[in-house]
């Protein structure tokens, strides 16, 4: 057995054991609140194959993607401007700090109340929740570009657009990506909240609807499904990040820096 398989086995045995324990332990369960795991999985699978779940998942993920995209565009462009003009940043700092501290889930009712229970208010809520870590990290990233690089670019009279695209944004990229990673986790939470508060589709709506109908197995199943989606999203983001920033990690390794 090589080292990699050993590590994989080390990482996997405990989760597998816990799931197996849950499966066998709940097998004969007659409790209303803790249905057998086999039943939860069977019913959820049924809804996945023949039921409404694929459409719901597409709805939820579509809102998340749109909201996150909006937040990325707004956060990076505003963050670059504020990182570039220290005076503007200093003047706006108290306002930014306050908005960042506001609990964004508390604004979900306002959005849904004003704009209805369709997709748009959910996208806005997600965007508003996601924009802050991206904005603040972009500001920090842009401010952290090495002065030497900037002076070099200026000395060679590289036009501003090119300087922005080839010097500043790449230098700030690791920090921006870290901000997007935080934003993704927030986005999933806001997505679920907005669907539980008021929706007619989506995975959050599925869970709420099941619990209202007292379908305990579906409630558990939907909850586990959301957990799985959350985990898959964060794992695939880390993989995408490794690929997107491969030049950064490579450079850090060559220079012996901490990536």
């Amino acid at each position: 057995m090589n080292r990699q398989t050993l590590h994989a086995a080390q990482a996997l045995w405990l989760p597998v054991l816990l799931v197996a324990l849950w499966w066998w332990g709940s097998a004969g369960s007659t409790s209303i609140y803790f249905p057998p795991l086999s039943k939860i999985v069977a019913l959820t699978w049924e809804d996945l194959v023949r039921g409404p779940l694929p459409g719901f998942i597409a709805f939820s993920l579509g809102n998340l993607a749109a909201g996150l995209a909006l937040a990325i565009v707004a956060g990076i462009s505003l963050g670059t401007v504020l990182g570039w003009y220290p005076l503007a940043l200093r003047l706006l700092d108290p306002v930014l700090q306050f908005f960042r501290a506001m609990p964004k889930v508390a604004l979900v009712p306002l959005f849904i109340g004003a704009l209805g229970i369709g997709a748009l208010p959910k996208i806005y809520s997600i965007a508003l929740g996601c924009v802050w870590p991206i904005l603040l990290n972009t500001i920090d990233g842009v401010r952290g570009v090495e002065p030497g690089q900037l002076e070099m670019a200026r000395a060679y009279r590289i036009p501003l657009a090119l300087r922005l695209w080839r010097v500043i944004l790449p230098a700030a990229a690791p920090q921006i990506v870290a901000g997007v990673r935080v934003a993704l986790a927030i986005g999933v939470v806001v997505m679920v909240v907005s669907e539980i508060y008021g929706a007619q589709q989506g995975v959050g709506y599925y869970v709420l609807n099941a619990s209202r109908a007292f379908d305990v197995a579906q409630t558990w199943g939907g909850t586990l499904l959301i957990g799985l989606i959350g985990y898959l999203l964060s794992t695939s983001f880390v993989i995408a990040e490794q690929w997107f920033l491969r030049w950064h990690y490579l450079r850090a390794r060559v220079l012996g820096l901490n990536a």
Binding site: H7, Q10, A11, L12, W13, L14, P15, L18, Y33, P86, L89, R90, L91, L92, D93, P94, V95, Q97, F98, A101, M102, P103, V105, A106, L107, V108, P109, L110, F111, G113, A114, L115, A185, V188, V189, V192, V193, I196, Y197, G204, V207, L208, A210, S211, F214, V216, T219, W220, G222, T223, I226, G227, G230, Y231, L233, S234, T235
Partner: protein, 258 residues
């Protein structure tokens, strides 16, 4: 964040007032939906009036007590578990996937299940707050324990220091700044999740007040509650940073920072 003289303070105030004035103008003229952005003057009236009402303080009290109780349980469970996980490489590898899955779980999704199990009670809120905050604290504690220098841990092993003392004299002090950061992040998160759960499940607290104001179409009141939720979060994290500086004054990282 940046240096700020008296002139900068005036400038910052002017910008804040300018934004509020612009917002007021937009709301008055009907350029934005008043149910989405009610005019600041109306919000201000509620912000001033709320602290004179007993109902407001009851809501603040139940939200804070649920969030802080959950945080306390998360600290008591998360710190020792996290240190134990971080102190041993095989244990760290074994639990990593499990911790990753649990950490990325959006806790609000558990709300319907928990309401079925426990009803809309303060106890349910405490469970939600605990589940939401135990992972960042556990993770930070394990990072902290992993940051013990090999020389130090080898020395402790060579002198056959008992596990109990290794925990209190080597692992805990080294991990302390990491743990403090974890608790600070978790505190604002506890507040956020508690308010979100109250909002969705109509459990007494700030979140339910927001939901009720929204149902009564009193949008400025919604914003006033949102404002106070933000103030509460800022106050809590400021308090914790102060406590952190005070309690960790002995730590090298605090000395370097000064």
């Amino acid at each position: 964040m940046l240096q700020s003289g008296a002139g900068m303070r005036v400038g910052q105030l002017a910008v804040a007032i300018g934004i509020l004035a612009l917002w007021e103008l937009c709301a008055r003229r009907g350029w934005v939906d008043a149910s989405l952005l009610p005019p600041p003057s109306q919000i201000a009236r509620h912000v001033v009036a709320l602290p004179t009402e007993a109902e407001f303080w009851n809501a603040v009290g139940s939200t804070l007590s649920a969030a802080l109780t959950g945080l306390l349980i998360a600290v008591l469970v998360g710190v020792p578990t996290g240190i134990a996980i971080g102190a041993s490489a095989p244990v760290y590898r074994t639990t990593r996937l499990l911790v990753d899955v649990c950490r990325s779980f959006p806790v609000v999704a558990l709300m319907p299940v928990l309401v079925l199990l426990m009803g809309t009670t303060p106890k349910m809120l405490v469970v939600v707050a605990t589940l939401a905050t135990v992972w960042p604290i556990l993770l930070q504690s394990s990072y902290g324990a992993r940051s013990v220098e090999p020389l130090v841990s080898d020395t402790a092993r060579a002198f056959q220091i008992p596990a109990r003392y290794r925990f209190t004299h080597v692992l805990l002090p080294t991990a302390a700044p990491y743990i403090a950061t974890g608790i600070r992040i978790a505190a604002t998160f506890a507040l956020l999740v508690t308010i979100g759960t109250e909002l969705l499940s109509a459990t007494p607290g700030l979140g339910r007040e927001i939901a009720q104001a929204q149902e009564g179409a009193n949008f400025p009141l919604v914003m006033a509650y949102v404002f106070y939720s933000g103030v509460l979060g800022l106050a809590l994290s400021a308090l914790l940073s102060r406590a952190e500086r005070r309690l960790l004054a002995w730590h090298p990282s605090a000395r370097i920072a000064e």
